[in-house]
Subunit: 194 residues, 4 copies
DNA sequence: AATGAATGAGTTTTCATTCAT
DNA sequence: GATGAATGAAAACTCATTCAT
């Protein structure tokens, strides 16, 4: 039986609390104390584990990215065709784990942060490039030279739907969002085949 | 000759400084003093004219929205057909005034703010609904019942391209962005006609 | 016909506004702008006429003191006997002009101010001494060597009734207050005669 | 041995510093920084323990009130007769702890504050009512229906003596002040018996 | 005479961060 | 490992006061 260890437990709790707090505040203007209280520890402990506040935020961001990455990877492994791989990416983007209001808020906040904080920017770029590469790779056999272009469109649309979701008064409709992107793809690929 | 009036001058200067400062900081975490200094006045004067910081931010937001509104309205007046009206909206979105890094940064920052500040949210919603109405109205004769759906896709894509532009290492390529949206429309409308 | 002159008019308006504002705020924490607005002029004009804020406050204080002085002097002139003179002072203290909530608030605020501002303290002392002298003078033929002591008691009781009035939830009852002091005097003077 | 506990220590120090600072300033226009410096801590700590400045002021007020309450209660317990109880209240009012210039200044400042700040007003009213009830209760067997009236006179005189003491150039003479009130009582009660 | 414009000097309050225990 | 205690630094906001017009 692996002793779970207090530290990893605390770290997880703090990261979860960070995301929840960001969602509740709707921005990164969240105090370390708020986060710590939510995680049931002292703010000093948050510093002890993560160093500066920025590091905690980065860790939360990394957590979100990794979660998405795992989710997407799983779906990609199960996808037999290029077209299915594209759907896998879309499904992961609008999957239950990603499209929760909580996650979307945090996501958007991190995007803004990336404009001013270099480490956050680096993180997002790695993710963006990986996503782009995956899309292009899957699109290549279906759309040839238009692949990068379509990938760009797909990525933009996904991001745009997140943005609107973050703001939206309407309840999140992951299915409708996914369908919109799928349709975009279908139009492009049908046109290609024609 | 109308006396220029100092107040409108100062207000304009402060709003301009606000947008510039937001861009430079990459977020709304800008102090009133920074903004005031940039406008060449004291922070007290900024408070004198705008009240609280939030009011200044809102005024800047309103300014951006109004600018876009005027730009779009001008282009729409010159558009003879529904399809041209759609292009007018897209052109306004990616026009020189709107797609400057400066404006895009501020835009995104305001989106985040709208998550927590009700007045900002109201402002963005008004803009979003107006845009949506314009798009649907122009799409109706071309796409019938699919109009709302396509409008949603167009709006999402535009927002997504802004988001990516805000983050992007690449220099802004308004033409490419606009082309992507135009193409999206063409695909939908071609399919419709077919 | 005496041209009233703008200046005296403005000064009066400002002093009245000062007292009203102090009453409304319940303390001297009133801004010059508030006072000026209430008087219908700019704050700059208040400074123009009175110099610093302290000077305006002092002028308002002086106004209150002078008003009380005039009121008391009038009543004293009409008082035929020492006992009547004592009643005159009491009547002036609780007269309509003095015992208004407005005046009482200001009065108390000035008492506090006198603790830290020398000019205000000097002003109040002059008034206190004059009042004391008047009381002693009237008491001497009635109470002999006990005059200063009784004067002290009367003055304290008047001040105390003001204090309680300033705080009181009950509506001001000038008659009851005056009666309490009169009774105090009667007891002393009856005892003296006995 | 109970660990002294830093928090209670700091709270006490801050409250003491508040009262001292109010006395020195002669009003509540005292900055949190001044108070904190006097207590030997940072202003941030004052906020940490008391929240807003108002809360610190209220705590100081409550401290004064409680101190007086304890003092009076002790003396009342030792008073065998109604008349002795009245003297106990007077003695407590002018006792060494209460009639210090420091305390009197603060007292007066709080009275003014009560005019504009509801919580302060509530606090003072509780104290005023309790005092009134005590006086009336002790006076009832001695003065019958005149008890409330005399109680009012006693309370007013005490407050008035505080007021004059706050302003006074003369050194505080607690004995003389107390004697004045005692005499007032004696006159009333002698008259009653007669 | 009168004012709008403008600001410097402060004041409260918040918060990330450190440190002794 | 964990925390309460403590603070320096900063930020929003206020206000008396000055000055050009």
């Amino acid at each position: 039986m692996p002793r779970t260890g207090r530290e990893p437990m605390r770290r997880r709790a703090l990261i979860g609390a960070t995301i929840a707090a960001i969602h509740e505040a709707g921005s990164l203007d969240v105090t370390v104390s708020q986060i710590a209280r939510r995680a049931g520890v002292s703010s000093a402990l948050a510093h002890h584990y993560f160093g500066a506040k920025d590091d905690l935020l980065l860790a939360a961001m990394r957590h979100l990215l990794a979660e998405f990455g795992r989710d997407a990877a799983g779906r990609l492994r199960a996808a037999p065709t290029p077209r299915a791989r594209l759907s896998a990416v879309i499904a992961a983007s609008f999957g239950a784990a990603q499209f929760r209001p909580e996650t979307v808020s945090a996501w958007l906040a991190f995007y803004v942060r990336a404009q001013s904080a270099a480490p956050a920017r680096r993180l997002l770029r790695v993710y963006a490039r990986r996503l782009h590469a995956t899309l292009v790779h899957a699109l290549r056999p279906l759309a040839g030279p238009r692949a990068p272009r379509i990938a760009e469109g797909v990525a933009a649309m996904i991001d745009g739907l997140y943005l609107r979701q973050a703001l939206g008064e309407a309840p999140p409709d992951a299915a409708a969002a996914a369908a919109l992107v799928e349709e975009y793809l279908d139009l492009h690929l049908a046109g290609a085949r024609a």
